[in-house]
Symmetry: C2
């Protein structure tokens, strides 16, 4: 039913989230396995987490443990396993962050499954905001993410329309934005999947580990929190956002083939409008692609 | 890596151990799955646990939740998943009880694996006692278990030498006794696996559910605790214990084939000595079987 090694790894993460420094012997007892089996599992974990084993201790670097962050004004939930962070966030109030080490049924755009390996950042930010900011979220989030990756990690990240982050054409991150509308406000669920220290789940993907080695996740996570806290402020200058989006947009000036609800569309990507819709020059004139009905983009 | 339905079932058990009454919606959020998926998983759980779903609630009957017991003088640890309860008990002091809903690597006698389905009782009792009581444990524990099953549950349980419990030849429970010797005392690990409401793991096994329907586990567990607390008292009358063991012994007066470290032995089972060794009448005279070097017994 359950593969032994994966189970021991996840049980170890459960305990290490609660206490990041264990005597090997104590942790083995706690999980109910022999030390040898625990050490083998933790050696595997150490390929994807900043976890070290010395002679008698197993230590998880706090800078790699999301629950060690106490972001002011946010509630942060950090679980070893969840169905999906988007679903779990539904039970929390706005200004919550849900981080899972492993998702049983991670979702991507258009109901696609999102595969989560141990060591990545699989997060949902739940915020409350006005409708202007909500409408700009599909632009704000990829811009924020790209900026963090470029500025702080020196990674040549670019945006693949509508909101994947790619490096040399390989996918580094995916974004899934969902919204609930109320009378006078919007609740936004910002799902971000970033390949940090995990093994990239698909062939055309890449992880930060592959680009610049093992990286503490909290550095990235705390910057995300900071920028998302300022989303409303960013939305006050939509023209500046659009400029930045265009500057980062890998898709621009490429001949794009898109699978949409209305069929296949092909054309040169020439612009993105205020709402983040992609403008294509096709044989039959201009065509504007709505991301919500565009399933696949290739170029 | 992890089968979705099993994972959701175990995540639900994690939460239900902490709180035995949940709004369906809240529990789905907590696990991060849609209500439909949770309800499907809990419907499966309800085949092996006294868990009910009504319109809005999921409720686990406290009489089926080991952690609801507060046995006086004992420390009780109840975990959804462990490697094995025997290993987990090593980290606790004597007079501890470890119960797991699922064991990743349950052990039986002679290093055989012990398969644990959801809904059974998989327990280790760790006690400290004198060497006289320790020596009698292989007799005391099967006698206790058989007595409980016969007296309180009206099940025609018998002992299959050395310490399986059978009903009409089908295995209902297994016992694994391990010991650590110190200067003036013995630490005993009494591992008991009892098929209660689980699906029996092997063909020649049976569960209490099959014999008399779904049964609250705490009734059985609290009787086990009571009797094991009195093990030293029972050991003061070894002759009475031996009599009772012989009365329950299914193996007696059967022609037995045993696989031992020294080869195959065949003979009529005529007696059990003070230490629980089986006495066989073979073609070449009497032969005494030591359970510690007897791997398999058939009759």
């Amino acid at each position: 039913m359950i593969d032994l090694k994966t189970a021991v790894k996840i049980l170890a993460l459960y305990k290490l989230i609660k206490n990041n420094d264990w005597l090997i012997r104590d942790l083995a007892w706690e999980i109910g396995v022999r030390e040898k089996i625990l050490v083998e599992a933790v050696e595997e974990l150490s390929k994807n987490y900043l976890i070290t084993i010395d002679e008698s201790h197993i230590i998880w670097n706090p800078a790699d443990i999301p629950s060690m962050l106490n972001p002011w004004g946010w509630e942060l939930v950090h679980e070893p396993i969840l169905g999906s962070t988007q679903e779990a966030a539904r039970g929390l109030g706005p200004w919550s962050i849900v981080v899972a080490e492993y998702m049983l049924m991670g979702r991507g755009r258009h109901g696609k499954t999102w595969k989560t390996g141990l060591g990545g950042l699989w997060i949902t930010f739940k915020i409350s905001t006005n409708s202007e900011t909500a409408a700009l979220m599909p632009i704000i989030v990829p811009v924020i993410l790209t900026r963090i990756l470029r500025t702080s990690l020196d990674i040549n990240a670019r945006i693949k329309w509508p909101n994947d982050i790619v490096v040399n054409g390989r996918k580094l991150a995916g974004i899934l934005i969902e919204a609930e509308a109320f009378r006078n406000k919007m609740i936004i669920y910002i799902g971000i999947g970033l390949n940090v220290n995990n093994e990239p789940p698909i062939e055309k993907a890449v992880s930060i580990k592959q680009i610049r080695g093992m990286t503490p996740r909290n550095k990235i996570l705390s910057m995300m929190i900071g920028w998302i806290s300022r989303a409303k402020k960013l939305a006050e200058e939509p023209e500046k956002l659009r400029e930045q989006y265009l500057e980062y947009l890998d898709t621009l000036n490429k001949v794009v083939t898109a699978k949409t609800r209305e069929g296949i569309v092909q054309g040169l990507a020439v612009d993105v409008n205020d709402l983040g819709y992609l403008v294509l020059e096709t044989e039959n004139g201009r065509k504007i692609l709505d991301p919500t009905i565009t399933y696949e983009v290739r170029y």
